[in-house]
Symmetry: C2
Subunit: 223 residues, 2 copies
DNA sequence: ACCTGAACACCGTTCAAGT
DNA sequence: ACCTGAACACCGTTCAAGT
């Protein structure tokens, strides 16, 4: 039957900072960065846009909180049995996959340097670098290079994904690019043409890991 | 004396795509990403916002064109006398410094994967990788790792810079962060505390290069 | 203490009208 | 062909007024 009261049904649960942030993450994941507006968020939370401002200072803080929320759930758990190399690879893949699932995270994480989520990643990498018996004077550089690579490249990859149409077939797309590379000017793009074939069986995740391994080799080869 | 005509003085030179783009780059450099609006751009070009749309499809295309313009001027010139390692380092530093001067470039470059500006960087790196006598099957991965590192980490660095207040003293800032690191929980942040001291004499540019060298070592150590 | 929603000062973009 | 600028449909944010 029809509702018994005149007033439209409104929110039952109280509006909390937590609920706002998780709704923001959902909006970012489903409708993207341009879809996260205070009006859309308010509608989803069955309230007015002004109410959100009582719990969150503004859009910048909202995005920072959403980013922290995602990173925090990513960085939990640490396999202490693994070799340092394996542990670093696992951590790197964790970040990579998190950026894959939430392509907006990279953008905003970069705007919070030295903040707690990045610091936790840094600490974890650093411990593994120590376990690799890297001399103390070289530890900072080694850990920095790894973290910068991880955040930077995973962020690049996420940005690439965002530009692709959601429906595009991966293989088809790579084939098209590879073909385009083959048709480049042989003088200007000699190298690119040579490796065009390798692009067809290209795997972003594997390529990402291969880069990690190159840095790890570089770190250990120094000793 | 006063002007002889009634109509206010307007633009003399014709409005061209080129003038629009270079004005956009100027606005981005001086007032930042939020300062680039069609209204501000129109005022600077002494016209109305609608006029810009006759030459440029929209804001997305405008940003892409501005990005390409900056990258194109960065990538010119190539020292053929240098060793492969030196050439790659020089190229990397060129990108790093360009991102430093135009901190917005990284953001938008990442949104144009496989497009001409990035392809030119890739080609240059690839040629040096070949010069390093990397086996053909490993060339794609080596060049990708280097390019991803360069774009990713330089982009991270630029994003970091953007978050800093323009007036902040570099040394003071690093000192403050280092001190904060020293006060972290010893259990949770054992490694970070250990390297806090090294942060004081930290140099982003040098650290960036050190990462390049680690990858280069990794690439050549494989052979 | 917490919420509401109209109102303000902006945006990007369009388009009829001008030259 | 190219430009003008008012108008449209949005934003983030504020704030007087409510409970």
């Amino acid at each position: 039957m029809a509702s018994r009261t005149r007033r439209p049904e409104r929110r039952q649960e109280p509006l909390t900072r937590e609920r706002i942030i998780s709704a923001a993450v959902e909006l970012l994941d489903t409708v993207g960065e341009s879809g996260l507006t205070f009006r859309a968020l308010a509608e989803r939370l069955a309230t007015g846009p002004g109410a959100i401002y009582w719990h969150v200072a503004g859009k910048t803080e909202l995005l920072a909180a959403a980013t922290d929320a995602v990173v925090t759930t990513t960085i939990t758990g640490d396999d202490t049995d693994a070799t340092p190399q394996e542990a670093i690879r696992a951590l790197a893949l964790g970040v990579f996959d998190a950026f894959d699932a939430h392509p907006w995270v990279g953008t905003y994480l970069a705007r919070r340097p030295g903040q707690s989520p990045m610091l936790r990643v840094f600490e974890r990498i650093g411990r593994r670098v120590q376990a690799l018996r890297v001399p103390e004077a070289a530890q900072f550089t080694a850990a920095s290079a790894l973290m910068n690579y991880i955040l930077g490249v995973a962020g690049q990859n996420a940005a690439n994904l965002r530009t692709l149409q959601p429906g595009t077939d991966r293989t088809e797309f790579l084939d098209a690019v590879a073909t385009a590379w083959t048709e480049l000017d042989p003088d200007q793009y000699a190298f690119t043409r040579t490796v065009a074939g390798q692009l067809r069986k290209h795997d972003d995740r594997a390529e990402f890991l291969a880069g990690i391994d190159l840095i790890l080799t570089g770190i250990t080869a120094r000793q």
